[in-house]
Structures are given as structure tokens and as C-alpha cells.
């Protein structure tokens, strides 16, 4: 049966870093290209455009995802956080500060993706998610401690060709410690902590 050719453009509203952006997109436009070429938000980087390097990592509904394989039209209705939205105003996120202080980068091109990924890694770990580095994944074994080996595995979706991995791992560890301390303090104050849905 013959069908009318579908429209290849859509008007969408993207929710990025808490702000709504209305634009018309070619359906082929990835979230990555929409950010970089349409919205002038170039902090999210294009390294391979094939999901093979992690440079374009953003948070979608608070979870990390690669923007190069996310169609912009499919991102409508999602809550998107890019590197531009990680800091609280002028106050760097603990992960950003740790990358800066510990030199967790060299050329800086993979850095926004590394940082977005690290923010999510800390959340995933706090929610008790195991990783491929976790010896015993059964829930009875309890959440794995965030050892350097765990960080390495969890951060492996972000390639760094400069080879800044040693300081990246140190930076993630430092930010995670600060985060764990903050969570503990919060728990001590009697605030109920809700982990991410498993």
C-alpha cells in the first residue's frame, strides 16, 4: 500500500540545563549536532560520532548517554544536562573542581564527557549498581567499594587519547569521597536518602 512520504522535520522543545529550547529539527539531527550546531552549546564534544569514544556524554533524565546516537527529535520530553549545566552558577561541581585541581585532562577535548560520565558514575555507585569489575554481583554481597579498579571500569566508556587516565581516576575518587561524605552527613541529619531506582 502506498503511503505519503513522512515529514522529515519536526518542531521540538528540548529541555536543556533547565531551560526550554524550541527549534525545528531535521530528524537526522542528533542531540549532539543540535547542541553544537543549532544551540551554540559546544561544550559537548564530537569525537567519533559513533558511540565509540564517549566524548559526547551528557545526562538524559539524570543518566549518562551519548548524544551522538541520540536523535534530537527523540530527546524531546527528556531532561538533558550538558557540561554547561553541571556547575551551580560560578561554583564548580566537585567533579569539575577535582579534574581542575588534579589535572584530570590534557587537551581537554574528552573532558566534558569525562566529567558528565563521572557525575553519573558517582550516582550509579551510590545507587548500588555493580560493574564488570565487581567480583560478586549478587545483592547479598552488598555495594562494591569504589576502588580505583571500579572507577577505571566504570569510566572506560570515555576514551582519553592523551592518556590522562591516572589523574582522571584520582579526580573521580576525590569527588566521590566528597560526595559520600556529604551523603553520610545528610543521613546523619536524619534525612532519608533515596537511591536511584534500581
Amino acid at each position: 500500500m502506498a503511503t505519503a512520504p513522512p515529514s522529515t522535520y519536526s518542531a521540538v522543545t528540548l529541555n536543556i540545563n533547565g531551560e526550554k529550547h524550541a527549534l525545528t529539527v531535521d530528524h537526522r539531527t542528533t542531540l549532539l549536532d543540535a547542541l553544537r550546531e543549532r544551540l551554540d552549546m559546544t561544550g559537548t564534544k564530537k569525537g567519533c560520532d559513533q558511540g565509540q569514544c564517549g566524548a559526547c556524554t551528557v545526562l538524559v533524565d539524570k543518566r549518562r548517554a551519548v548524544a551522538c546516537l541520540t536523535l534530537a527529535v527523540a530527546a524531546e520530553g527528556r531532561e538533558i544536562t550538558t557540561i554547561e549545566g553541571v556547575a551551580e552558577g560560578d561554583q564548580l561541581h566537585a567533579v569539575q573542581q577535582a579534574f581542575l585541581d588534579l589535572d584530570g585532562y590534557q587537551c581537554g577535548y574528552c573532558t566534558p564527557g569525562q566529567i558528565c560520565s563521572a557525575v553519573a558514575v558517582i550516582e550509579e555507585h551510590a545507587a548500588g549498581w555493580p560493574s564488570a569489575a565487581t567480583e560478586d554481583v549478587r545483592p547479598e554481597a552488598g555495594p562494591p567499594p569504589l576502588t580505583p579498579e571500579e572507577i577505571r571500569e566504570r569510566m572506560s566508556g570515555n576514551l582519553c587519547r592523551c592518556g590522562a587516565y591516572v589523574s582522571i581516576v584520582q579526580a573521580v575518587a576525590r569527588a566521590a569521597e566528597a560526595d559520600a561524605a556529604a551523603r553520610a552527613a545528610q543521613a546523619e541529619q536524619g534525612t532519608e536518602h533515596e537511591g536511584a531506582a534500581a
Binding site: R28, V66, A197
Partner: protein
Amino acid sequence: MKEFGYQRALDVSGALALLDADPDARFLGGGTNLVDLMKTGVERPGRLVDVRELPLDRIETTEDGGLRIGATVSNSDLAAHPDVRRRYPALTQAVLAGASGQLRNMATVGGNLLQRTRCGYFADVTKPCNKRDPGSGCPAIKGEHHNHAILGASDHCVATHPSDLGVALTAFDAVVTYETADGPGELPLADFYLPVGDTPHLETALPQGALITGVVLPPAPVAANSRYRKVRERASYAFAIGSIAAALDVQDGVVREVRLAFGAVASRPWRARAAEAALLGGPVDAAAFAAAADAELAAARPLPHNGYKVTLMRNLVVAVLSELAEEAAR
């Protein structure tokens, strides 16, 4: 990439109707494989029907004590689910061994089963490939094939299936459920992938226009003592060159139940039934494990540069079964 239409389906019947209306339409799940293949020109759909938001995102225990996993459950949620981790730990390990944290958040269970091979000739539209372009030839057989199939391949195609998740599901007798315009259906994963033969472009037995709705895992107490091991050319974020999902139950020093499936050695996740048969009721020692592996790998037809996979799989069988035997003895 050519232009295409896009629609978001809100329910299963709507999704089926949208697909049915356009022969050039494809379902879009997480997009981690399809969008990549559209960029490389391997896939050229005229319309995408986005099924990511269908209400198929639950993991539930079935009446008989198995698990029903919705098709749009993300790989991450599957791996993190307490029932999966407790009852089918190899499944969690398999998922976590695949791709990256980012991609696992995006990728769906249904999409994972339908992902295409990572053969470099398949991905390069300037090269012949019988799977992409039937009849054009297979350059891998006389070219680069060190990570190609040793089992179940043909003269027409030696590509492997890249899924990790699928290997564990195969070991646990998973059943794929689907919907079509004519009603629901199901396919055991063992029958889900078609033999390669001279039709490598025909990959699954899913009826035309069908939408995968989920995967059902039957109850399998043996799966509680299970493990997934993956060997690859870097420590993470790489496809397997050989992998194994194994489960073992030992009683009174003999194998009471065993499950074995191999990854990255065939066009589909490879259930090692010959090895299982050789092990069942037999002794729990390295010699028996090696003999069982040999029984399975007798069917291997390696190419000049992938014969190492026979050794690798044999060694993996022995190593992982030995570890599980030790675990069972605790």
C-alpha cells in the same frame, strides 16, 4: 544518511500500526546500533517508529518463578535488578561486560537481541558483504577474520553476533515474546536466530512487522551459580573475541545440571549442547571439562587466522567451570 520520518509510539498496537503502514519503517529503541548503522549507510530506513517509551519497561517474576523482562528495559536496569543479580548473576555480568555505562543506559533488551554484527566489512558500505548486500561476496573469508566465527558459519558469511546479553539469555533458555498485527507469539532464543546458510542477510525468525515485547526467563535454580567471562582485546569497552556464560550444579561429586553458551564464535549466541550432554552426570574435574569442550568444538571450522578461538573457548570452558565447581563446593 537520507531523510526519514519519525513517530513516537505510545502503545504496542500503535507501534505495530505505524510500522505496518510503511514498508520502509523500522523500530527505534535505544538507537545505539541503528543510528550508528544509519550514519554509516548500512541501514537506510524511510521512517523510524520510536518504541522507547512503550510500557514494556518492567521486570517481573512470573508465576512459575522465572522472570519476565520487558523489551524496553534498559541494559543498565536489567543488570542492576536485584532478582537478576541474585537468580541469574551471569546475566548481570554479561550485560555489564558489554559496551559502556552510557550505552547500557540507552540500549534496550529488545534492541540488544536485534543488533547487527560488528564485522568490519559489513560496516563498510564500500566493501562487498553478503549480509548487507546479498550475493556481493564475503571478503572476510580471504581477508581479515581473526575475530570471525568458528562455529555454524558458511561459505557465504563468517560474521559473529556481538551480544553479551544474548549469550547469557541463551544459556538460561530464554524465550522471546512478540506482538504482530495478527496477535502475540513467542520464540525460544535457541530458534530466534536463523542458520547462516546462503542467506546471511536473514537473521531472525521474527515475523515481518513483529515487535519484540520482552524476554521470559524460565526458573533455573542452577543459574544462581553462574558466571560470564568475556575475553577481548582491551580490558573494557570492546566486543568479545570469545565469551562464555556458564552455570553449574554439583551434587555428590557429579554434575547434576549445567548450562554453557559461547559468544563471539558464531552468527548467534552459541548454546553448547554437546558439551552440556558430555558433562551431565559426569565427574567434576578439569579433564572432564576439557573433554566436554572438545566435544562441542569438534564442530569448529576455523579459518586461517581464527583457530586460536578453539583453544580460547576450550580454556574458558575449563576455567569457568572449575571456578563454578569451586563455588559449588563452598
